[in-house]
């Protein structure tokens, strides 16, 4: 135990001394998460909208006055459809409304009129939402009451706030990436310096060395997780956690071991830092892809769905989302814990065996 603690302390001191690494870890756990959360907005907001009004005003003005922040920018008037569509082609305007000259007349005489809308639909999701906003606004100008009332509740995140979600998703990716890279780096640095063989030949059980070395990096990761959740998630983004924070930390702890296991494997096969970087990217990308972080798993190809069962990140992401947003009870989380622990043990054991071999 004393040896174990000594080794852990040695690695932690070594980590703190390499200020470059410390800077990267701190950056990833704070600023990177902050930028992603603040910067990536997927809900349509602040849409640039332009219009051509050939009517004398009246109804069209009423409709235009309802296009305002936060969904829309101030509508920009255009003299002709041609000018409007040129602006859309240059992507300065995303939505163009055209009120034709008989709009007002039709509305008075026949009780129906139509608005032409030109929509830049390149950013498909945002365009779709923009169209929905407009439809909802025009829906209000209808004659009779709709007899069915739709009571829609968006559970867990009523305002559909993206920044909380993006910040958390980014934190999970950072944990994965750094968990692998940091662990691999501690071993490969010894390899590069030629001290790894000496370590294995020391009169200490090599298993203890490997365990201590990887444990020290798990500690670093957990430190990062504490900083990220405490300062960025709770401090800056003010996320409300619906489940238990202890469950999240426990899950993160197991997951950090899992990614350390991948790191051990990477360290075993690479000779220098450069290979660590390349291999980590090659391994991480499919893992993240299969985790359901971007595509819901049940919308994937059936073969990929089966494969995604092998991605430990899948259980970690679903588990963390459940804890943070869905507020799932501790005992309902057992399948996420089981997934992370089982995959983690296998990966860790495999990496453990591979790096511990002398020749």
């Amino acid at each position: 135990m004393r040896v174990f603690l000594a080794l852990v302390t040695k690695e932690l001191i070594g980590f703190l001394r390499s200020w470059g690494l410390v800077a990267v870890v701190l950056y990833s756990f704070t600023l990177d998460i902050y930028i992603t959360g603040k910067g990536i907005e997927m809900q349509a907001k602040n849409i640039a909208i332009g219009y051509v009004d050939e009517t004398g005003g009246g109804m069209s003005k009423k409709i235009l006055s309802r296009l305002h922040a936060p969904e829309f920018q101030k509508p920009v008037p255009f003299m002709s459809t041609k000018e409007l569509s040129k602006s859309i082609y240059d992507r300065e305007i995303m939505v163009g409304l055209i009120f034709e000259s008989d709009f007002e007349k039709n509305l008075e005489k026949r009780d129906r009129a139509s608005v032409d809308i030109l929509l830049d639909s390149i950013a498909a999701t945002q365009s779709f939402q923009a169209l929905q906003y407009l439809q909802n606004i025009l829906f209000d100008y209808s004659k009779t009451d709709f007899p069915v009332e739709l009571k829609i509740h968006k559970l867990f995140n009523q305002n559909a706030n993206t920044s909380e979600f993006m910040a958390m998703a980014e934190m999970l990716s950072v944990i994965t990436l750094l968990g692998v890279v940091l662990t691999a780096v501690v071993f490969v640095r010894e390899k590069e310096n030629g001290t790894w063989d000496i370590m294995l030949l020391m009169p200490i059980d090599p298993r203890l060395i490997i365990l201590a070395k990887s444990f020290s990096q798990v500690l670093v990761i957990m430190g990062g997780v504490t900083i990220a959740t405490g300062i960025v998630l709770f401090g800056v983004f003010d996320i409300t956690i619906n489940g238990s924070i202890a469950a999240f930390f426990l899950l993160s702890f197991f997951y950090a071991f899992t990614s350390a296991g991948i790191g051990l494997f990477v360290a075993a096969v690479s000779k220098n830092m450069l290979q660590v970087a390349q291999l980590s990217i090659l391994i991480m990308m499919p893992l993240i892809f299969l985790s359901g972080a971007w595509t819901p798993i049940h919308a994937m190809h059936p073969l990929l769905q089966d494969l995604s069962l092998l991605s430990p990140l899948r259980y970690y992401i679903e588990g963390s989302e459940s804890i943070f947003f869905r507020g799932t009870g501790f005992f309902d989380l057992w399948n996420y814990f089981a997934g992370v622990i089982i995959l983690g043990s296998v990966l860790y054991f495999y990496g453990f065996r591979k790096i511990g071999r002398l020749f």
């Binding site: 910067g39 809900q43 999701t125 945002q126 069915v148 867990f156 919308a299």
Partner: protein, 370 residues
């Protein structure tokens, strides 16, 4: 300038790239990124797991359930009796995405034109997906109302034309942007590595002490990545049009020229990184941090530049990503080509950007021990 020296240096670089198998990364990484992200980022929702609790079990309510069932957006399970709390618990356990509750005597009230209420619960853990699902659910119910002639007569109808991406496909929205991301990241990493590797291994002293000129050294270091990555312009184009079936409506010449200039910009970024970084791992991490985040944020993939305001709009104009992506989206989806003054302007900006970065890098690089 001595071309023989440059040629000799370049042939050394190519041999090293082949021997260290770094060449694999040059071609595997871009393809992997475009395939993984192209398939991976899905904003549209299909097969949302929907649980319908039909407390009415009448003709109309069954018809409504049937409509959900036939839509590709939903995978429905219909039950006749389940308590609301039990159903909500299923959402908590992430077994269901949408819960639709049709009240008892729904049909009767509807026929008597009394108000009735359909309860819809949506898992909001992934916000964009939740908003999309909400709109789909509304769509199904309004459509049903229309066919039953109980929809309110709307005064104003929308007559919309979706330009550029008629079917609103995610692939069309994302894949061209990915090309802009990859061509910014990959050449920068390679060029930074080629120089930093010499620093780390100490062979940079050959450059310091030999009579090779600084300009010759830079050209010899930047030309191999330029040549290798120029092939990626075509590979990525093929993946986009053939695998992801993104239409290509504009001028290929414009795409090609812009992409070449963009690679020069990326090489310039790599050159600047190689001046700061002293080890390869730092060079990689630094390049990724500098390029990936702006490459995503200002790409227009997720958020159109026109929707930005304040600082983010200014930042978008500082990074080169916006200019290139405007041209790429134009060549793929819009098709104005070189006739458009905006494309001409942006192409010119890109060219000056590239020259600026490379000359800045050349000026900052010192041919001596620092």
């Amino acid at each position: 300038m001595n071309f023989d020296v440059i040629r000799a240096y370049m042939s050394k670089e190519f041999k090293e790239l082949l021997r260290s198998r770094l060449i694999l990364i040059v071609y595997i990484l871009p393809t992997m990124i475009i395939i993984l992200f192209g398939y991976g980022i899905r904003m549209e929702v299909t097969n949302a797991r929907t649980l319908i609790i039909d407390n009415d079990n009448s003709k109309i309510s069954r018809d409504l359930a049937e409509r959900f069932h036939h839509s590709k957006y939903f995978d429905t399970v219909t039950v006749n009796a389940m308590s609301e709390s039990e159903a909500l618990n299923r959402i908590k356990q992430a077994k269901t995405d949408i819960l639709v509750i049709i009240p008892a005597s729904f049909e009767k009230r509807l026929l008597h034109r009394q108000k009735s209420e359909i309860g819809v619960f949506i898992d909001g853990a992934f916000p964009v997906r939740a908003s999309t699902m909400e709109n789909y659910v509304k769509g199904v119910i309004y459509n049903m109302a229309k066919s039953l002639h109980i929809q309110p007569k709307s005064l104003i109808t929308i007559n919309n034309r979706n330009l550029f991406n008629q079917a609103m496909r995610d692939e069309d929205a994302i894949v061209p942007g990915l090309i802009g991301l990859i061509l910014l990241v990959a050449p920068a990493i390679l060029s930074a590595l080629l120089i930093v590797k010499e620093k780390e291994e100490g062979t940079i002293f050959n450059f310091f002490s030999s009579p090779i000129k600084k300009s010759e050294f830079i050209i010899a270091k930047l030309l191999p990545p330029l040549i290798l990555h120029s092939v990626n312009i075509f590979i990525l184009f093929l993946w986009a049009t053939w695998l992801f079936e993104v239409p290509f409506r504009g001028s290929f010449l414009l795409y090609w020229i812009a992409a070449q200039i963009y690679i020069l910009i990326s090489l310039g970024v790599g050159l600047l990184v190689s001046i700061i970084a002293s080890t390869q791992i730092v060079a990689i991490v630094l390049t990724i941090i500098i390029t990936i985040i702006p490459g995503f944020l200002y790409s227009g993939m997720l958020m159109p530049i026109s929707s930005m305001s304040g600082e983010s709009k200014i930042e978008a104009h500082i990074y080169p990503v916006m200019y290139f992506n405007h041209i790429v989206y134009d060549t793929f989806l819009i098709g104005q080509g070189l006739d458009s003054p905006k494309n001409q302007l942006y192409l010119t900006i890109l060219l000056f950007y590239a020259l600026f970065l490379i000359f800045l890098g050349a000026w900052l690089m010192k041919k001596e021990i620092s």
